[in-house]
Structure formats: C-alpha cells, structure tokens
Amino acid sequence: MELLAFGKTGWGDELFYATLMTIAVSVTAMFIGFFFALIFTPLKLSKFKSLNLIGNFYTTVIRGVPELLVIYLFFFGGSGAIMYVASIFGYFEYIEINAFITGSMAIGIISGAYSTEVFRGAIQSIDKGQFEAAKVLGINKFTQFYKIILPQMLRLAIPNLSNVWQITLKDTSLISVTGLVEIMRQSYIAAGSTRDPLFFYCFAAILYLMLTYISMKIINRLEIKYSRGY
C-alpha cells in the first residue's frame, strides 16, 4: 500500500495525474473523432461516387490497419509533415510537436472512423419521411441536418457511440509507446523503478476498469435523457 502513497515516497499522485491525462487524451480524441465524423459521414452518404470513395477509403483503411501502426505513423511522421508544410511558408527550423497533440490526433482519427460508421448507420435508420417533410416545408439542407436529423440521430447513435468511447479509452493505452505519461506509461515507469511490475500493471488494469465502469454509468444516464418521449 505504501507504494501508492501520495507525495515523494509513493506513486499515488503520479498515477492520479496519469489517470487525468488518460481522461484528457480520450476526451480530446473523441472530439477530434466527432469532427472527422462530421466531415466524412456526409461524404459517405453523398450521391456522388467520388465523394463516396473518399469516405469509404478513410473508414476502411483506418478500421483495417492496427492502431499501433497509425500511432507510429503519426509519431515518426507527424513532425516531418508539419515541417514540410512550414517549409512551404519559409520556416526551416526543427519543429517538435507535443506528444499530447500527436497522440490525441492519432487516436482521434481512429475514433473518427468508428464514429463515422455509427453516424452513417443512425442517419440511414431515420425515417425517409422526415427528409421529405423537411424538403416539402422548404427547409434548407443545413437547417434540415442540424435541427431535424441531428437531434433524432443522436438518440439512435448514443448506444453505439458508447462502444466507440470504450474503444477510444482503451486505445489511449497505446500512446504510451510515444512517451506520453498516461496510465500505462506511468505504470511502466513505476514498475521499472520499483521492480514490481505485477502490482503496478494490475493497478493500471483496475484504473482502466474503473474508468470504463464510471463512463458506462454516465452514458446510461445520457441514454435515458435522450430517449425521453419514446
């Protein structure tokens, strides 16, 4: 138990901050994922074949390639890509990107592919009459999406989005390979310096279980809230 003490003697406070970091990365990645989903869902549902192709390419590639490989691409290729863009604007110094940003971008793009599929499924299961009624009333496409389709879609999407959240939360453990100090990395450091890997990795497992359990409870509440009236 003294291994988990707060302060200089134990790893309690370090692991606590690492847990906060895991939550921060997951939430950021989830929002980046939503952003990507909002771009790619319309592409996947578009009438134009070429736009469809772009949307399908994104979801197929990301869902078919291991998360770790995507993270390595961002980790090793991220600063190179940024530096290339900067060189166009005439900036040639070395740019190092923060591990937090690379990590949440990588996980966010992965999470976005799953969210896109969820949104696509939810939109497709909305009654066709809703779209037609909006058209008849002369509502423009933008308002139609934000005021009519989105609210109905969210209710249908929440159960599946909760799965995406769980996947995203668990994927953040992979960013530990880039050196960002989240739960997994902190446990690795603690295990290395105390030579007690069994204890620390089991503790990490408990922390992840706790996070998934708490998020399940919160999502269940949201689900009840959004399905009011049905």
């Binding site: 078919g64 390639v65 291991p66 998360e67 453990s173 890997p197």
Partner: protein, 225 residues
Amino acid sequence: MDFDLMITSLPKLLGATVVTLKLLSASLFFGLMIGLLFAILRLNKNIIINKFAYGYSYLFRGTPLLVQIFIIYFGLGQIEYLRSTFLWVVLKEPYWCAIIAFTLNTGAYTSEILRSAFQTIKPGIIEAGKSLGIPNKIIFYKIQIPIAIRQSLPAYGNEIILMMKGTSLASTVTLMDLTGVAKYIISTTFKPIEVFIVAGGIYLFMTFIIHNFIKYLEKKYSFSQ
C-alpha cells in the same frame, strides 16, 4: 516517395506477416474454445458459475489488451513460485505470453458473441427437438451449437479482424511481427509514410480476405427460407 525503400522492405514485411498470422491463428483457435466454454458457463443457472464467467468477460473487455500482455509478460515472471514450475518454460517466451494474452482477450469477446447467439435461438426449435424425443445433449450439440455458430458469424468476423489488429501489440513485448518490423524499418530509415503504405497494405489485404471469407461462410450457411 521512396519507391526503392518500399520494394526492399516488402520481403522483410512479408516475412514478418508469417509471425502475425501464426499469432492470429493460434490465439483464434484457443480463444474460440475458451469462448465456447465460457458462453456455456454464462448460460448455467448456478449463480456462482454464472458470475464467474461474467467476471472473466468483464475483466478482459474492460481493460486494454496492452495491460493484459504486460501483466502476463512482465508481471507473472515476478512470482517466485511460478519460476520453479514447468509453466515457466512457457511464460518466459514472449511468443507464448502474447498468445496467452490474445487467447484470453479474444476468448472474452467470443464468449459474449456466442452467448448472445445462444440466447437468440428461438425456444420453439429446442422444444421441437424435445418433442421428437431427442436427448438434451444431442439437442445442444446438433441443434443449438450449429445455429449459434451461424448466428454469430457476422460478429465473429469482426472479432477476427479486431484480433488481427490486436496482434500488432506483440511488437511491444519484443516480438518481430508485421508492426514490429515496420516500426524497426521506420526508426532506422525515418521514412514513415512509405513503410506505412506497405505494412498497412498488407494488413488491409488480410482484412479483405477475412471479410470475404466470412461473407462466403455466411452465404453458405444461411438458413434456407
């Protein structure tokens, strides 16, 4: 774009694909057996057995695969007692540790898939079997299991693809699988995009094959209406 690098790294990556496929097939094989066992335990009416099986699947589905591999590879070696038993022969090899972790992980997901498949079997089918005087054991093996396998094919196909992606984590315990070799080439040449295209292409190809194979099976075993 460095096409030379792409061509020279292809044989190395294809060699590493064999390791990935070995890990995948071994863990799927053992995982399916464990999954079936725990699915049957989940359907047991005894509350202790039931809770035990639920706890297993909750534990392995609620934690990242990386933690599970690290506990098995780094953690178990710490127990002095284990080192003196024959289990140590298995546990000191990263290859077997990875397979154990993958097996337990995919077993947990598979047990959930199979359980829900068993539960969706219409009671009428089992009753029909009973009224024909077929013994319970044979109803289970000859009627329930085939139907459950058919029902769970789409979900199990997804699980195979997820597991294939999961095997990439073997590279974190020093195994040189496809991702491990890809990372090695990236970190020596610093050309991430080229290597990503080749390695990602191989993974996508495997996903494609699995996806179509499952589709074929689904068609083959679909219920004749």
